[in-house]
Each structure stands twice: as C-alpha cells, then as structure tokens.
C-alpha cells in the first residue's frame, strides 16, 4: 500500500494568548505509513505535544489549526465536523498520554471505562464486551485481568494504568496510535516493558504508532523513523539509524552530543549555547540561527527550506545548494565562538 496512513502537510497551529499569536507549529509535514512507528522528537516547547492534540482536534479553546492539511486514510480530517471526528477518534486514531492517572476517570472502574469506549464506537455485540475487555487486558500484560477489570484506577500502579490506557486505545483497533510521552513518567524497568508491548502490538495488530518524546534514547529504541522538531518546525527527518549515526541538521547533532553516557566520561558534553527561543520572539529566518555553530549571514536573512528526498528532508541552508550558504559570510555571533 503506497498511500500513507497519515499525511501532514504544511501544518500551522497557532495559539492566541495574552493578545498575541503564538505559532506553536509551523509548516510541519510528514507521513506515517501503515504499521510504521514514527518518532517525533524534540525538547520542551518544540510543539510536539501540540501536534498530538491537533491531530485529534483536542486543542484548547485558544488554539487553532491555522493552515495545512491533515489527511487520514486519504480524507481531510481538518475539515471534519464534530460527528465525523467523534467517529474517527478512538477507532481510527487513538491516543495515549503521559500521565495515565489523570487520563483515567477515577470514579469509574477500569472495566466500565473500557466498556464505555467500546460502546461509544459500537464495536461488536454487547454480550461479548466483557470477554473482549478481559482478553485485551491480558494481552497488554495485566495479571489477574478478570479481577483487575473491576478495580478503580487508583488501585492500580502507574505501570498498570499505562497498560490500561494502551488497552483502551487498542480495543478499538485503531489504525494509528498517537502516544504522547507514554513512558516518561515510568521507571526504567517499566519503560522497557511498555516499549516491548508496543512493539508486539505493532506486530500483531499492524497498528502504526506516532511516538512523541523528548527522550532520544527511547525513540532510538522503538522507532523506525523520526522527525526532529525545533521551535515548532520539523528540522530533520529520516531513518532512525541515519539520524543517530549521521545527523545532518546542526540542532540534531548538538542534541546528540549533549547526551551523557558512560562512553563520554572523560569529555565535556556538548551543550548548545543560548536558550530555546520563545515562540513569541523567534529569530527572523532560521529559528536555530542564534545558537548554531555554523550560522552564516544568509541564515538570518532567508528562512531555510525543508528539502530532500521523500522521508529524508532537512531544513538547513547547508544542504540547500540554491541557498547561497557557501558564498555567505559567517555571522558575527558564530565568529565569537561557541562554548
């Protein structure tokens, strides 16, 4: 099947706050193929969480899809009305969040919530539901599923709650699972289990996963491909191995150089000068120019284009032969040196 499951093109998401426009996401484009695990990586404030909400049209009141196309199974979901969205949410696209405690209703038993999810999407005969729920809980690795199904969320541990979230998401057999920092709140040993679970589910159900995370290590574990985001923009995308071995964008390179590890014991970790710019106050052309060790004059004058072969684009003048980067002079800031 050549048709991507999810196709995001030129997406802009804007928040209106304190009288100003906050461009949370700008010109974001990527595709998710059926059964693929795509990572969206970036630090806080890069727009990755907004992406998750935008895909399921769960943005808060002051947020808006200002431009771009969101195509799911070929249909433009940005234009969907409430009823159409309701039908897609859950059974077409499902979402799991970082903190399972606040995403589960504390006053309903686990089974009741799962039943509600099923009921809302009219899947299968009513008689069957409990059986399917218990089976799914077992599948996600919850011991004593038949007993746990009648428990309340607070009676379960964090890891189990996350599994319940996954179960809920999967009961509806979505084609795409959007996972927003699903393991960030969990202990390392639990993280491993959940990642293993997601892998198994991709194998058995063919579910594609959009894995949103700030943790490069985790992303490298589970994703096939990744998109690196900075200040609301995609700066690089590619095969996961390619990104880690041969990152092209200076930001990705700097990010990789900053990860501590045993191997790096004797060295100083690479640290990016400056701070992530406020989205209210982005540099005029390339958002990374102020912090980039390779910045030149053109980087402050012209916004870099997102170019490259399909699935391997990068947003940087260095790789754009038409940008005039090679003939441009290094910017004064770069000459002052990077720490």
């Amino acid at each position: 099947m050549n048709e991507p499951l999810l196709s995001v093109e030129g997406l802009d998401v804007v928040y209106r706050t304190r009288g100003r426009r906050l461009p949370a996401i700008t010109d974001l484009s990527f595709d998710v193929a059926p059964g693929e695990i795509l990572g969206i990586v970036g630090e806080s404030g890069c727009g990755k969480s907004t992406l998750g909400l935008a895909l399921l049209r769960l943005l808060p009141q002051n947020g808006e899809l200002a431009a771009g196309r969101l195509r799911f199974r070929g249909r433009d979901i940005a234009a969907f009305d409430r009823e159409q969205l309701r039908r897609i949410r859950g059974s077409g696209i499902a979402m799991i969040f970082q903190d399972p405690l606040t995403s589960l209703n504390p006053t309903l038993t686990v089974g009741a919530q799962l039943r509600d999810a099923l009921r809302a999407h009219d899947r299968g005969p009513a008689r069957d539901r409990r059986g399917r729920i218990v089976a799914m809980l077992e599948q996600v690795g919850i011991p004593d599923a038949a007993d746990r199904v009648d428990r309340y969320p607070h009676e379960l541990s964090g890891g189990m709650r996350q599994r319940v979230m996954i179960a809920m998401a999967l009961l509806l057999e979505p084609a795409l699972l959007v996972a927003d920092e699903p393991t960030s709140a969990l202990d390392v040993t639990l993280q491993m289990q959940i990642l293993e679970l997601l892998r198994v589910l991709r194998r058995t159900h063919g579910t594609a996963i959009l894995f949103i995370s700030h943790d490069l290590g985790v992303v490298s574990e589970i994703c096939d491909r990744a998109v690196v985001m900075y200040a609301g923009r995609a700066v690089e995308e590619g095969d996961i191995r390619a990104i880690f071995k041969e990152a092209r964008h200076p930001y990705t390179q700097a990010l990789l150089a900053s990860i501590p590890s045993w191997r790096r014991r004797g060295e100083e970790l690479g640290s990016i000068r400056g701070r992530v710019p406020s989205l209210f106050d982005l540099p005029p052309a390339c958002a990374f120019a102020d912090r980039c060790p390779h910045a030149r004059a053109v980087c402050r004058e012209q916004a870099p284009r997102y170019l490259g072969p399909a699935g391997q684009r990068v947003r940087c003048h260095i790789y754009d032969s038409a940008s005039g980067y090679s003939s441009s002079r290094p910017s004064a800031a770069t000459q002052a040196g990077v720490r």
Binding site: T189, H214, S220, L256, R265
Partner: protein, 334 residues
C-alpha cells in the same frame, strides 16, 4: 576501604510510620510503616562523586534527605567527617550541617517564588548571620555557576529550567560546603541544559574540591559522572562498586537490567535485553527473603527464604546476591 571518608553511613534506617488516631494510640495498636531505608552502609571518600541509582520506591531520595538532616533516621548513624550527627550538640550540628548542602530536584519549585535571585543567594548568609567578610558576593556566586550578573534581579519564574537549577547550585555553594547532595540534577531540564549542568558539576568538583552524592534514576548520568556507583532497591543497597566495574561486569541482576535498558543510540538496537517482569513491590510490604526475588530471573527457593547480605567480591566492589557468580558469567558472556 578508603581512608579519607567524608561521609559514613552505618546501618541507617528511615521508616515512615502511619499516623495513628487517638483511639489507636490508646489501644496501642501498631500502625503500618514504610521502610523507606532499611539498613544502609555507605562510605563516601573525600573528593569522590558517588552515584546512587534507583527507581521509584528505592528509598534513594529518603536516604539523601536523611543525610542532610531533613529527615531523622529511625536507626543507625550518620557520620560526617568522623562526627556522629545523631549525638552532636545543636550548635555543633548547625556548624556541621553548613558543610553539607543539597541541590533539590525541581529547579523552580525549590526557589521561593516571591524572592529575587540576589535575595535567594544571600539568604544563607542571613540565616546563619555570616559576617560580611566571609560572604561571597552575589556576583561571585553567579559567576561560579556561569550565569550572567543580570540574573540577580530576576524572579524564579522568569528563569529557564537550566538557569533555575544553576541558581539552586549557587545557593548551595554560598556556604562553601564540602559535601553536596544533588537530587536528580538533570530532572526537568532539556537535553542541552542537562548537559550544561553535568559539565558544571564536574568543573566545580575540580575547582572547589567538592565531594558529591548524585541521586538519579538515569544510568547515563551516573555513568558519565560517578566514580563509584551504588544501586538501591526497596530500601537496601544491592550493589556498590567503582563505575568501571559496575559497567563492565555488573554482579546483581537488577543492575544488569538497568544497564541493559540503556539504548545505544547510533549502534543500532542492542539485541540482548534483560526485561524484568512485574513491578516494583510496595515498600510497605517488601517481599520475604531477597527483596528482588519476585522479579529476578535467577531466583530460586533460597531467594524466598534468605535475604542476601552485601559481600565483597572484589576490592571495593560489593554485591548482595546469592547468585552473583551466575549473573556475572551471563553478563560477561554477551
């Protein structure tokens, strides 16, 4: 063992007892207790960075707080520079405690929100009524943590995570301590800010001759920083040793699992993984015998009956496991 020990813990236990109502007290009903720290012996030599690793429920934060005095130990001794903190007079305790400081986990939340940075940094001097000659200026403190002087007039909410963390470090350094406990120094920070803090911690060790206890769940942090690594599980230390030994050949299955969870970015996926089943048991009801046996791939009958004690298997390398030989053999075979 080391000669120049700055901090020495002997059989430290810290329990949290449930509050009992009046009726329970009268009836002498025994409340429940959480054995957060259940018998820890640890030695931290001067000038070293000791990394204490553990997941939630391990008791590492409680141990840290017990060391700096925010929590009273239920049993055991904490010796700082040879002096028993439990037996020191109030005045001596105050003096001793000034020599050890803590950097707290949350960068912003550990700074009083209605105070400016310069006020926060001079707070320690006001509290201890330090005469002006012995104070470091705000400018000096900021420079030590590589922050620009304008930061002095900011409020905590105006600072980035990295800046707030550094202000916390500067504040901890104000009293010129010898020993610093860093609780999750990279939590709440972006990759870049994290890296900067780790670099700073290393640099300060060289520049000021500090001794550190770094508490973290992140083995990458500990692998990068620590000279000695101590692994904690459910209130007990399960393995302690020099960092190279721990990384090269861990002797406890829990350590092995933690290490195998580290992805190797750039080298493709590591095939051999030790994925532990189950979850960390509640510290309220730790398993009988070896606390780890409920999740341990090497567990046998003996594990349920007998709790292993820390034994020395190499110079400076201790482990609490009945089957450490098998564990090591398996680890080095991969």
């Amino acid at each position: 063992m080391s000669s120049e020990s700055l901090l020495h813990l002997r059989g430290v236990r810290t329990y949290f007892f449930d509050k009992r109502g009046l009726a329970a007290q009268v009836l002498r009903h025994e409340g429940g207790a959480v054995h957060a720290v259940d018998g820890v012996d640890l030695d931290i030599p001067r000038g070293q960075i000791v990394g204490l690793v553990g997941e939630s429920g391990s008791g590492k934060t409680t141990l840290a707080r017990t060391i700096v005095g925010l929590q009273r130990p239920t049993a055991g001794d904490v010796l700082f520079d040879g002096r028993d903190l439990g037996r020191a007079s109030r005045a001596e305790l105050r003096r001793l405690r000034r020599r050890m400081q803590m950097i707290f986990q949350e960068p912003h939340a550990s700074l009083s929100p209605r105070h400016r940075v310069d006020s926060l940094l001079s707070e320690p001097y006001r509290i201890h009524r330090i005469p002006p000659e012995e104070r470091s200026s705000v400018g000096e403190l900021l420079e030590m943590v590589e922050l620009s002087p304008e930061i002095a007039s900011h409020f905590p909410h105006q600072l980035s995570g990295g800046q707030a963390r550094r202000v916390g470090i500067a504040r901890a350094l104000a009293l010129h301590p010898e020993f610093v406990v860093a609780d999750e120094p990279t939590s709440g920070l972006d990759a870049s800010a994290s890296a900067a803090v780790l670099n700073l911690i290393k640099r300060l060790r060289e520049r000021l001759g500090l001794t550190y206890l770094v508490i973290t769940h992140d083995l990458n942090v500990v692998g990068y920083l620590a000279d000695t690594i101590a692994v904690m599980y459910l209130g007990l230390l399960v393995e302690i040793g020099p960092a190279e030994r721990i990384y090269a050949s861990p002797a406890h299955p829990y350590t092995q699992a933690l290490l195998s969870a580290l992805p190797e970015p750039g080298d493709g996926r590591v095939e051999r993984r030790l994925v532990l089943p189950g979850e960390i048991p509640s510290p309220r009801t730790p398993p009988d015998g070896c606390r780890f046996h409920t999740r341990c791939p090497y567990a046998q009958e003996r594990s349920r009956l007998e709790s292993p004690r820390l034994e020395q298997i190499e110079p400076d390398h201790l482990v609490a496991c009945h089957f450490w030989r098998e564990v090591r053999a398996a680890a080095t075979a991969s």
